[in-house]
């Protein structure tokens, strides 16, 4: 019942939160030699989450535009853009959920 009421947004929030952790890890390791930046294939991770599986296999290494000498593949512009996009998408899901909860509570109150 609740899955139908809230659609895929609960799973979406989970995957968005995981992606936020992965991107934060990249930003945290911006100066660590040989660190390889990673990201999540969002649609793949969401499909896995919907089937109740771990999103781990949707994580892969980023291909750097310009590899650095110390083997680190974090490119700050890429990471910051992805982080901002992911945060906005998370917030969108929250807005959808809030809308749905508002509709439901108005219906329950008979407004």
């Amino acid at each position: 019942m609740s899955d139908n009421l809230f659609g895929i947004h609960a799973k979406t929030l989970q995957v968005r939160a995981l992606r936020m952790d992965v991107l934060a890890s990249n930003i945290a390791n911006a100066a660590t030699p040989n660190y390889k930046a990673r990201d999540i294939d969002f649609s793949k991770a969401l499909a896995l989450a919907e089937r109740g599986q771990s999103a781990e296999s949707a994580i892969s290494y980023r291909v750097p535009l310009q590899p650095s000498l110390d083997g680190n593949t974090v490119e700050m512009v890429t990471e910051q853009t992805a982080f901002a996009e992911n945060a906005l998408a998370y917030r969108s899901s929250l807005a959808f959920l809030n809308g749905r909860i508002g509709t439901l509570s108005r219906a329950l109150k008979g407004e």
Partner: protein, 136 residues
């Protein structure tokens, strides 16, 4: 590397900030000692550099720690200055092996990366509070 542990976003960015702070302190020490003079080559100050290491967590997460702070492989500059109070019997002194320009660049980069982690934390904090207010 130990077993994969569970890292929250607060662990990830918080520990990264701590590591960047060590880096900033090292840079400050290097800059403070730039231009200092010693009476022997062995006694001269050599720039220090932190060694960062990735701490792996579960599901693609990772944070960073300072493994150790090492002395950079640089040689102090020998200067012939017999009038210097610290000069050795040949009239030489050694200047600290610190390149101020490199240190300043390092300082700016450290500040930027520290700031990025602060930004990540504050965005995450905002999103978590919004999630808690869901439906209110």
């Amino acid at each position: 590397m130990s077993m994969a542990n569970s890292l929250s976003l607060f662990d990830i960015s918080g520990r990264a900030m701590a590591a960047q702070l060590v880096r900033l302190n090292t840079t400050a020490s290097n800059l403070a000692n730039a231009g200092s003079v010693s009476g022997s080559e062995a006694g001269a100050y050599r720039a220090m550099k932190p060694v960062f290491r990735t701490i792996m967590g579960e599901a693609g997460t990772a944070t960073v720690a300072v493994d150790q702070v090492t002395q950079a492989n640089s040689t102090p500059t020998k200067r012939h200055d017999p009038s210097h109070p610290l000069a050795d019997k040949d009239g030489n002194v050694w200047e600290a092996a610190v390149d101020s320009a490199t240190e300043l660049v390092e300082m700016v980069e450290t500040a930027r990366q520290y700031q990025n982690n602060v930004q990540v934390l504050s965005t995450a904090k905002g999103l978590i509070s919004e999630t808690l207010r869901l439906g209110q």
